[in-house]
């Protein structure tokens, strides 16, 4: 277990005994008087100097959140005020969300970080109020006459520290905005405050290092082209060993029909690689004419957690590469924030994609008119359509060793609205699927606690707390239905949920949806399969066992 997280028993004791606003304890202390305290486990290491230099970002220096002096640039106040003013002009959302909150409190206990920490500043209303109180300082006269009336305050270094803490205890999951009567979206506020903080060099290396990598090598993990190919080829070998089928992905191939882009975590990380094996099996199964790019080798976009300009810059590679290769349309892998970007931002930022064609499934002939302009289809939409038209030979019994539940990823749920496609696939590739409690799935889904670039090891304390509502909902189906597999369609989930499950619910493993598809696919010319893609024994397929295949 990480040295940055408390023991589970200690945390449970804290939940039971320590007074918290969540449980209705009130200390009579106003929120702006509550101190901000950085300690092990609740701050991410700041951006390294060489990373900042590479990106041309402000104020590279050696510092830590626990330092008294953060070595802000001399004119930091001016930078922040002007930055805020210019963003208020560019975004109606920001202005509206700062102006229209009535502090009704409907959002308060909807945030996973509030539920996991009990810290009042993690109530979305107060998180936004951290900025609002400074924004309102535009009316100093009112404040002077009626001291404390509008709850405004000056922009001080202490406020910057508070922003850094609490806008990094928001994963931009948008759950609060579902419940807000005015649709105020804290994600929007967090995105813009993080932009402002980056202007004065208050940042997070776990976000900026991938951004720099992605700019240079094409992917967050910094995998260079030859290594990228090697990695996928080793997965191809594994597939050969397991199934006896030789899949043949191509790279940077001009003239392919489809360019497939997925988060680089699927190429490099465990358990993402099994999901990648699922994709490769699927594409081979249906004979898709596709290619993978080493240049546009990242589906995810950590630019989104940095600034809108950076999001646009990293995303631009997708269309650029699609145009160069002359493909007809784009197919995207399983990822959360990648799909927020592709669905809600990509075509606006880097379109129009008039050099591509409206996506049509070459297998079923289905025209994806919902992607008519952006020309990018989600793999779950694509596969659900294949299954609906009975184009896949599936044996769901091969997943009988897994008792599954499905975790809706925040961005796919609340920034795209994709709920039925993955469920329809899951029901067809496995026989045991149990939904978590109604208030914790679909549009009310809980974040893994590590989204929006907070998946750092040194942040484990906050991550385990932030992930608690999700883990707790999994625990209920584990106890009730013996669920042992948490299926998800997000690469950050695949990286962050395993430690979360180890912490709260040992015995529950994390799977990508297309890993289960890969398990269930009956490939032409395959050898007798006894294990799944992870080389775990499948129930009822053991060597010499009673096999009806």
């Amino acid at each position: 277990m990480s040295k940055y997280a408390p023991k589970l028993s200690e945390l449970k004791k804290e939940f039971d005994e320590k007074p918290s606003v969540l449980k209705g304890d009130y200390s009579a202390q106003e929120w702006w008087d509550r101190p901000v305290e950085f300690r092990d486990g609740n701050w991410c290491f700041p951006g390294k100097q060489e990373v900042l230099a590479d990106l041309g970002f402000a104020n590279p220096r050696k510092w830590a959140a626990t330092d008294e002096d953060w070595q802000l640039p001399a004119d930091w106040q001016k930078t922040i005020s002007e930055g805020l003013q210019s963003r208020l002009k560019k975004y109606r959302s920001l202005k509206l969300f700062l102006d229209s909150c009535v502090r009704c409190g409907a959002c308060a206990d909807k945030c996973h970080f509030f539920l996991g920490t009990g810290d009042p500043k993690n109530m979305p209303v107060l998180r936004a109020e951290l900025l609002r109180s400074v924004y309102r300082n535009d009316f100093p006269l009112v404040e002077k006459i009626l001291k404390g009336f509008s709850g405004s305050r000056k922009l001080t270094k202490a406020v910057i520290k508070e922003w850094h803490m609490y806008f990094n205890q928001c994963t931009e999951c948008r759950r609060c905005s579902v419940f807000c009567p005015f649709g105020i979206d804290t994600a929007e506020i967090t995105m813009l405050v993080r932009e402002l903080l980056n202007l004065i060099g208050v940042n997070n290396n776990w976000i900026l290092a991938p951004v720099s990598n992605c700019n240079r090598t094409g992917n967050h993990l910094g995998i260079e082209p030859h290594t990228f190919v090697q990695n996928i080829n080793s997965l191809v070998e594994d597939i050969g060993d397991l199934t006896g089928v030789e899949v043949e992905p191509t790279f940077n191939r001009k003239g392919a029909e489809v360019l497939f882009i997925t988060p680089s975590g699927d190429v490099f990380g465990d358990p993402g690689v099994y999901t990648m094996m699922g994709y490769l099996l699927l594409f081979h199964h249906i004979g898709l004419d596709y290619t993978i790019s080493t240049y546009a080798s990242e589906g995810g976009n950590f630019g989104m957690f940095t600034s809108n300009d950076m999001m646009k810059k990293l995303n631009a590679k997708m269309y650029h590469e699609a145009k160069r290769l002359g493909v007809k349309w784009l197919l995207g892998g399983e990822c959360g924030h990648m799909w927020r970007v592709v669905h809600q931002y990509m075509n606006t930022m880097n379109g129009p994609a008039d050099f591509l064609e409206v996506p049509v499934s070459p297998i079923t002939g289905t025209r994806f008119s919902n992607a008519a302009a952006t020309k990018m289809v989600h793999i779950a939409e694509f596969t659900a359509d294949l299954i609906h038209h009975k184009k896949l030979k599936l044996d769901p019994k091969r997943n009988d060793h897994l008792r599954t539940t499905f975790h809706d990823s925040c961005n796919v749920a609340r920034g795209m609205g994709m709920f039925e496609e993955p469920r329809s696939i899951l029901r067809n590739v496995c026989n045991s699927f149990h939904e978590m409690a109604e208030d914790t799935i679909r549009e009310k889904t809980f974040c893994c606690g590590s989204g929006s670039g907070l998946n750092a090891e040194e942040y484990m304390d906050i991550r385990m707390r932030g992930g608690f509502p999700r883990a707790n909902a999994v625990k209920q189906v584990k106890d009730r239905h013996k669920v042992n597999s948490l299926v998800t369609i997000c690469a950050i989930d695949r990286a962050s949920l395993p430690p979360l499950m180890n912490y709260w619910n040992p015995g529950v493993s994390v799977y990508g949806l297309h890993e289960l598809v890969g398990n269930a696919l009956v490939m032409q010319g395959e050898k007798k399969r006894t294990t799944d893609l992870r080389e775990n024994t499948m129930a009822g397929f053991e060597d010499g066992g009673d096999d009806d295949e």
Binding site: K95, D109, S177, F182, V229, Q344, N347, N370
Partner: protein, 331 residues
């Protein structure tokens, strides 16, 4: 408790102003003519300027919060209200928020139980209280139209009868009077009772509640207790709506208190959180269609950026790409 008491004292002092002004200083012209006109101008101009100020700011990205299934494959039913694909569906979504507080209806209450267990319960009190408050306030405002027309319009008569169907007192008791007082008491007490609400509430949250409560209480006193002669009141209101600046006749002092507090509310409105009344129509997470992949959304200021092109990438990695047998553009 200062943040509760301060607004309470402010409202009490404000109520005293016309009392002293009219009763002792004889300023009935100021309180009966000048201030109401000023207040109306500030309210209308302020409200529309604020709306215009929001409206002129661009909506760079299409960011609806999708609370239901997207429109994708033909055989999957999409949620027309929570994931609207067409303009009228998004309009229906906004109107469902305006008229029925749809998002608030979803409200749940989280409880942390022993041994780290979370439970969520349905919690519709805020929805119910908010809806009761806003709707009865609307009916009450509309009922007041009888003061603004020589002939009472038909719909006002209808509202009057519907609202007063209990007919238990003289003058007829209005149900909305009871409902609105109950609802506003609930809205105040929920801010005081719950630890979370106590923390997030500011003076600017209590002030309008107390102000509206005072207006309501004075109105109820005028009607049921002091039994003010309403003919001079109606005369004065008719003068005001006809843009007359004649001096008001003899009217009970409670009327001036009522009218002054309404004027204060009108002046306060455009500068405060009460502007949520306009903001709800503009919220980009609710009023946009979820069709950004089907139809390109235009960002008027779409920032120019320089990204790393493929040829720059190939220049850096050409030798490694050759070794990996990757196709390249330049040898």
């Amino acid at each position: 408790m200062k943040k509760v008491l301060m607004p309470l004292v402010m409202v009490a002092l404000l109520a005293l102003v016309p009392f002293v002004g009219v009763q002792y200083a004889g300023l009935s012209y100021l309180f009966g003519v000048i201030i109401p006109y000023t207040a109306m101008v500030v309210l209308l101009a302020g409200f529309f300027l604020r709306l215009a100020d929001w409206f002129r700011r661009p909506v760079p990205f299409r960011i609806p919060t999708t609370c239901g299934q997207e429109k994708s494959l033909d055989w999957i039913k999409y949620d027309r209200l929570e994931s609207p694909a067409h303009f009228w569906e998004a309009a229906a979504r906004v109107l469902s928020e305006v008229f029925f507080f749809r998002s608030l209806f979803r409200n749940t209450k989280a409880e942390l139980h022993k041994d780290a267990n979370l439970a969520y319960g349905s919690h519709k009190w805020l929805w119910l209280g908010g809806l009761a408050f806003h709707w009865s306030l609307l009916v009450i405002v509309l009922r007041h139209s009888r003061f603004f027309f020589v002939m009472v319009p038909g719909f006002t008569d209808f509202l009057d009868h519907a609202d007063g169907f209990l007919d238990v007192t003289l003058p007829t008791f209005y149900i909305t009077d009871a409902v609105v007082l109950a609802a506003i008491s609930f809205l105040v007490f929920r801010r005081l009772k719950d630890a979370k609400m106590r923390l997030i509430s500011l003076q600017t949250d209590y002030f309008p509640l107390f102000l509206i409560a005072a207006i309501l209480v004075v109105g109820v006193l005028m009607r049921y207790v002091a039994r003010l002669d309403i003919m001079p009141v109606k005369d004065q209101m008719l003068r005001l709506v006809n843009f007359s600046v004649d001096a008001p006749g003899e009217i009970g002092i409670l009327f001036y208190v009522h009218l002054f507090l309404v004027s204060v509310l009108a002046i306060y409105f455009p500068f405060s959180k009460l502007m949520h009344a306009g903001a709800i129509f503009l919220s980009p997470t609710r009023n946009l269609t979820n069709n950004s992949r089907q139809k390109r959304h235009i960002n008027p200021w779409n920032a120019a950026i320089k990204f790393r092109t493929y040829s720059e990438y190939e220049d850096d990695y050409r030798e490694k790409m050759k070794k990996a047998k990757l196709p390249i553009e330049k040898q």
